[in-house]
Protein backbone atom coordinates (compact mmCIF):
# COMPACT_ATOMS: atom_id res chain seq x y z
CA UNK A 1 0.00 0.00 0.00
CA UNK A 2 1.04 3.57 -0.51
CA UNK A 3 1.43 5.85 2.49
CA UNK A 4 1.90 9.59 2.43
CA UNK A 5 3.63 11.23 5.40
CA UNK A 6 3.57 14.97 5.94
CA UNK A 7 6.23 16.43 8.24
CA UNK A 8 6.32 20.09 9.17
CA UNK A 9 7.82 22.40 11.79
CA UNK A 10 5.82 22.45 15.02
CA UNK A 11 3.78 25.53 15.64
CA UNK A 12 5.91 28.28 17.09
CA UNK A 13 9.14 26.82 15.71
CA UNK A 14 10.87 29.32 13.54
CA UNK A 15 10.50 28.39 9.88
CA UNK A 16 13.05 30.54 8.06
CA UNK A 17 12.37 28.79 4.74
CA UNK A 18 8.69 29.69 5.01
CA UNK A 19 9.61 33.25 5.97
CA UNK A 20 11.95 33.58 2.99
CA UNK A 21 9.29 32.35 0.57
CA UNK A 22 6.71 34.61 2.19
CA UNK A 23 9.05 37.51 1.49
CA UNK A 24 9.71 36.39 -2.08
CA UNK A 25 6.09 36.06 -3.20
CA UNK A 26 5.20 39.78 -2.94
CA UNK A 27 8.42 40.53 -4.80
CA UNK A 28 6.89 38.62 -7.73
CA UNK A 29 3.67 40.57 -7.45
CA UNK A 30 1.65 37.98 -5.49
CA UNK A 31 -0.17 39.85 -2.74
CA UNK A 32 -2.22 38.75 0.24
CA UNK A 33 0.04 35.93 1.41
CA UNK A 34 -0.09 36.10 5.20
CA UNK A 35 1.85 32.98 6.10
CA UNK A 36 3.97 30.29 4.46
CA UNK A 37 5.14 27.09 6.16
CA UNK A 38 7.44 24.62 4.50
CA UNK A 39 7.43 20.96 5.39
CA UNK A 40 8.35 17.68 3.80
CA UNK A 41 6.24 15.13 1.95
CA UNK A 42 7.35 11.50 2.12
CA UNK A 43 5.68 8.78 0.04
CA UNK A 44 6.36 5.15 0.82
CA UNK A 45 5.22 1.77 -0.44
CA UNK A 46 4.78 -0.48 2.58
CA UNK A 47 3.40 -3.96 3.12
CA UNK A 48 1.48 -2.91 6.19
CA UNK A 49 0.62 0.33 7.94
CA UNK A 50 1.35 -1.17 11.37
CA UNK A 51 4.75 0.43 11.81
CA UNK A 52 4.29 3.69 9.96
CA UNK A 53 3.74 5.66 13.13
CA UNK A 54 6.91 4.22 14.68
CA UNK A 55 8.81 5.12 11.50
CA UNK A 56 7.59 8.69 11.84
CA UNK A 57 8.57 8.94 15.48
CA UNK A 58 11.98 7.31 15.15
CA UNK A 59 13.24 8.65 11.84
CA UNK A 60 10.95 10.53 9.49
CA UNK A 61 10.18 13.35 11.92
CA UNK A 62 12.11 14.79 14.84
CA UNK A 63 9.45 15.18 17.53
CA UNK A 64 11.49 17.90 19.24
CA UNK A 65 10.88 20.30 16.37
CA UNK A 66 8.46 18.68 13.95
CA UNK A 67 4.94 17.28 13.85
CA UNK A 68 3.73 14.70 11.40
CA UNK A 69 0.59 13.17 10.02
CA UNK A 70 0.19 10.26 7.64
CA UNK A 71 -2.47 8.57 5.59
CA UNK A 72 -2.90 5.58 3.36
CA UNK A 73 -3.40 6.89 -0.16
CA UNK A 74 -3.63 3.74 -2.23
Amino acid sequence: MKVRVLVRPKEGILDPQGEAVKGALPALGFGGVTSVHIGRLIEMEVESEDEVDAMCRRLLANPTIEEYEWEVVG
Binding site: L14, P16, N62, T64, I65
Partner: protein
Protein backbone atom coordinates in the same frame (compact mmCIF):
# COMPACT_ATOMS: atom_id res chain seq x y z
CA UNK B 1 45.11 4.34 29.99
CA UNK B 2 47.51 1.41 29.84
CA UNK B 3 50.57 3.64 30.18
CA UNK B 4 50.46 4.63 26.50
CA UNK B 5 49.09 7.74 24.90
CA UNK B 6 45.44 8.57 25.39
CA UNK B 7 43.54 7.16 22.41
CA UNK B 8 40.91 9.41 20.89
CA UNK B 9 38.51 8.06 18.30
CA UNK B 10 37.09 10.13 15.45
CA UNK B 11 33.98 8.75 13.76
CA UNK B 12 33.89 8.75 9.97
CA UNK B 13 30.53 8.70 8.21
CA UNK B 14 29.99 9.02 4.47
CA UNK B 15 30.00 12.80 4.06
CA UNK B 16 32.03 13.63 7.17
CA UNK B 17 34.52 16.27 6.06
CA UNK B 18 36.25 17.38 9.24
CA UNK B 19 37.45 13.92 10.23
CA UNK B 20 40.97 14.46 8.86
CA UNK B 21 41.21 17.81 10.63
CA UNK B 22 40.02 16.19 13.87
CA UNK B 23 42.55 13.34 13.55
CA UNK B 24 45.28 15.92 12.90
CA UNK B 25 44.17 17.96 15.92
CA UNK B 26 44.27 14.85 18.11
CA UNK B 27 47.85 14.28 16.99
CA UNK B 28 48.61 17.93 17.85
CA UNK B 29 47.13 17.37 21.31
CA UNK B 30 49.67 14.65 21.90
CA UNK B 31 47.09 11.88 21.89
CA UNK B 32 46.75 8.92 19.55
CA UNK B 33 44.14 9.40 16.82
CA UNK B 34 41.97 6.39 16.01
CA UNK B 35 39.65 6.37 13.02
CA UNK B 36 36.24 4.84 13.81
CA UNK B 37 34.51 3.72 10.61
CA UNK B 38 30.73 4.15 10.55
CA UNK B 39 30.10 0.54 9.55
CA UNK B 40 32.13 -0.91 12.43
CA UNK B 41 30.23 -1.62 15.61
CA UNK B 42 33.40 -1.18 17.62
CA UNK B 43 35.10 1.75 19.36
CA UNK B 44 38.51 0.00 19.35
CA UNK B 45 38.97 0.64 23.06
CA UNK B 46 39.38 4.42 22.76
CA UNK B 47 39.36 6.70 25.80
CA UNK B 48 37.26 9.46 24.20
CA UNK B 49 35.36 10.05 20.97
CA UNK B 50 35.01 13.06 18.70
CA UNK B 51 32.07 13.08 16.27
CA UNK B 52 33.35 15.50 13.62
CA UNK B 53 31.67 17.97 11.34
CA UNK B 54 30.59 17.58 7.75
CA UNK B 55 27.46 16.49 5.95
CA UNK B 56 27.00 12.90 7.10
CA UNK B 57 24.81 11.02 4.64
CA UNK B 58 24.41 14.24 2.68
CA UNK B 59 22.34 15.76 5.50
CA UNK B 60 19.44 13.86 3.91
CA UNK B 61 16.15 14.06 5.81
CA UNK B 62 17.69 16.19 8.59
CA UNK B 63 21.33 16.76 9.52
CA UNK B 64 22.43 13.79 11.62
CA UNK B 65 19.17 11.86 11.20
CA UNK B 66 20.67 8.97 9.22
CA UNK B 67 24.11 8.92 10.86
CA UNK B 68 22.42 8.37 14.18
CA UNK B 69 21.58 4.80 13.09
CA UNK B 70 25.04 3.88 11.75
CA UNK B 71 26.63 0.76 13.26
CA UNK B 72 29.26 2.71 15.15
CA UNK B 73 26.55 4.64 17.00
CA UNK B 74 25.48 1.57 19.03
CA UNK B 75 28.72 1.25 20.98
CA UNK B 76 29.12 5.03 20.97
CA UNK B 77 25.78 5.45 22.76
CA UNK B 78 26.78 2.79 25.27
CA UNK B 79 30.14 4.54 25.79
CA UNK B 80 28.38 7.89 26.27
CA UNK B 81 25.80 6.49 28.68
CA UNK B 82 28.52 4.89 30.77
CA UNK B 83 30.27 8.26 31.18
CA UNK B 84 32.82 8.18 28.37
CA UNK B 85 33.84 11.62 27.06
CA UNK B 86 32.18 12.41 23.71
CA UNK B 87 32.50 15.67 21.78
CA UNK B 88 30.23 16.44 18.84
CA UNK B 89 31.40 19.27 16.61
CA UNK B 90 28.95 20.95 14.21
CA UNK B 91 27.39 18.03 12.28
CA UNK B 92 28.60 15.88 15.17
CA UNK B 93 26.50 18.04 17.53
CA UNK B 94 23.53 17.50 15.21
CA UNK B 95 24.15 13.73 15.26
CA UNK B 96 24.23 13.69 19.07
CA UNK B 97 20.93 15.57 19.36
CA UNK B 98 19.32 13.21 16.84
CA UNK B 99 20.63 10.30 18.92
CA UNK B 100 19.04 11.88 22.03
CA UNK B 101 22.42 11.97 23.74
CA UNK B 102 21.97 15.74 23.96
CA UNK B 103 18.72 17.69 24.34
CA UNK B 104 17.24 20.01 21.74
CA UNK B 105 17.82 20.30 18.01
CA UNK B 106 19.71 22.48 15.54
CA UNK B 107 17.43 24.46 13.26
CA UNK B 108 18.18 26.32 10.06
CA UNK B 109 20.03 29.59 10.73
CA UNK B 110 17.55 32.43 11.10
CA UNK B 111 19.31 34.43 8.38
CA UNK B 112 18.75 31.56 5.89
CA UNK B 113 22.44 31.75 5.04
CA UNK B 114 25.28 29.34 5.56
CA UNK B 115 27.46 31.05 8.17
CA UNK B 116 31.21 30.73 7.71
CA UNK B 117 33.14 32.98 10.07
CA UNK B 118 35.25 33.21 13.18
CA UNK B 119 33.20 34.01 16.25
CA UNK B 120 33.91 34.90 19.84
CA UNK B 121 32.54 32.46 22.39
CA UNK B 122 32.67 32.36 26.17
CA UNK B 123 33.33 29.14 28.09
CA UNK B 124 30.39 28.98 30.48
CA UNK B 125 31.02 25.61 32.09
CA UNK B 126 34.45 24.18 32.88
CA UNK B 127 33.21 21.03 34.61
CA UNK B 128 33.03 18.96 31.44
CA UNK B 129 35.85 16.78 30.11
CA UNK B 130 36.09 19.05 27.05
CA UNK B 131 36.39 22.38 28.88
CA UNK B 132 38.10 21.52 32.14
CA UNK B 133 41.37 22.94 30.84
CA UNK B 134 39.73 26.33 30.22
CA UNK B 135 39.28 29.16 32.69
CA UNK B 136 35.68 29.91 33.74
CA UNK B 137 34.45 32.74 31.51
CA UNK B 138 37.42 32.38 29.17
CA UNK B 139 36.77 33.85 25.74
CA UNK B 140 37.90 32.02 22.61
CA UNK B 141 37.79 32.85 18.91
CA UNK B 142 36.68 29.79 16.97
CA UNK B 143 35.57 29.12 13.40
CA UNK B 144 31.95 28.28 12.63
CA UNK B 145 30.67 26.90 9.32
CA UNK B 146 27.09 25.71 9.31
CA UNK B 147 23.64 26.05 7.83
CA UNK B 148 21.77 24.53 10.78
CA UNK B 149 23.35 25.94 13.93
CA UNK B 150 20.35 27.62 15.45
CA UNK B 151 20.01 25.77 18.75
CA UNK B 152 16.44 25.10 19.78
CA UNK B 153 14.94 23.51 22.87
CA UNK B 154 11.54 24.07 24.47
CA UNK B 155 11.34 26.71 27.22
CA UNK B 156 11.38 24.13 30.00
CA UNK B 157 14.50 22.41 28.64
CA UNK B 158 16.26 25.75 28.14
CA UNK B 159 15.50 26.80 31.71
CA UNK B 160 16.81 23.47 32.94
CA UNK B 161 20.01 23.77 30.88
CA UNK B 162 20.63 27.23 32.34
CA UNK B 163 19.79 26.18 35.93
CA UNK B 164 22.06 23.17 35.75
CA UNK B 165 24.91 25.10 34.13
CA UNK B 166 24.80 22.93 31.04
CA UNK B 167 25.37 25.70 28.52
CA UNK B 168 29.04 25.00 27.80
CA UNK B 169 29.81 27.67 25.18
CA UNK B 170 27.92 30.88 24.49
CA UNK B 171 28.31 33.23 21.51
CA UNK B 172 29.26 36.79 22.31
CA UNK B 173 27.58 37.76 19.03
CA UNK B 174 24.90 35.34 17.92
CA UNK B 175 25.57 34.28 14.30
CA UNK B 176 22.57 32.02 13.71
CA UNK B 177 19.61 32.89 15.93
CA UNK B 178 20.49 30.25 18.51
CA UNK B 179 18.34 30.27 21.68
CA UNK B 180 20.06 32.07 24.59
CA UNK B 181 23.12 32.54 22.31
CA UNK B 182 23.95 28.89 22.91
CA UNK B 183 26.98 27.56 21.00
CA UNK B 184 27.32 24.34 22.97
CA UNK B 185 25.61 22.23 25.63
CA UNK B 186 26.31 19.10 27.63
CA UNK B 187 24.22 16.17 28.79
CA UNK B 188 23.08 15.56 32.34
CA UNK B 189 26.18 13.49 33.08
CA UNK B 190 28.30 16.33 31.61
CA UNK B 191 30.49 13.85 29.68
CA UNK B 192 28.76 14.41 26.32
CA UNK B 193 29.31 17.87 24.84
CA UNK B 194 28.04 19.26 21.55
CA UNK B 195 29.36 22.52 20.08
CA UNK B 196 28.82 24.25 16.76
CA UNK B 197 32.28 25.94 16.54
CA UNK B 198 35.21 23.93 15.14
CA UNK B 199 38.14 23.73 17.60
CA UNK B 200 39.96 21.27 15.30
CA UNK B 201 40.26 23.97 12.64
CA UNK B 202 42.35 26.11 14.96
CA UNK B 203 44.70 23.48 16.31
CA UNK B 204 47.97 24.72 14.84
CA UNK B 205 49.52 28.22 14.63
CA UNK B 206 50.00 27.45 10.92
CA UNK B 207 46.19 27.59 10.65
CA UNK B 208 46.18 31.06 12.19
CA UNK B 209 45.54 29.93 15.75
CA UNK B 210 45.71 26.98 18.07
CA UNK B 211 43.02 28.22 20.45
CA UNK B 212 40.96 25.14 19.65
CA UNK B 213 43.43 23.07 21.62
CA UNK B 214 42.18 24.85 24.77
CA UNK B 215 39.05 22.78 24.33
CA UNK B 216 40.45 19.58 22.84
CA UNK B 217 43.34 19.25 25.29
CA UNK B 218 40.93 19.50 28.20
CA UNK B 219 40.05 15.86 27.74
CA UNK B 220 43.65 14.96 28.59
CA UNK B 221 43.30 16.74 31.93
CA UNK B 222 40.31 14.54 32.69
CA UNK B 223 42.30 11.50 31.64
CA UNK B 224 44.93 12.38 34.22
CA UNK B 225 47.61 13.33 31.71
Amino acid sequence: MGGGRVRIGVTVFPGSNCDRDALYAVERMGAEPVELWHADADLKGVDAVIVPGGFSYGDYLRPGAIARFANVMGPLEEFARSGGPVLGVCNGFQVLTEAHLLPGALLRNTGMRFVCDRVRVRVEATDTPWTTGCEPGEELTLPVAHNEGNYFADAETLARLEDEGRVVLRYLENPNGSANDIAGVCNEGRNVVGIMPHPERVSDPALGSDEGLRILRSVLVGAGV
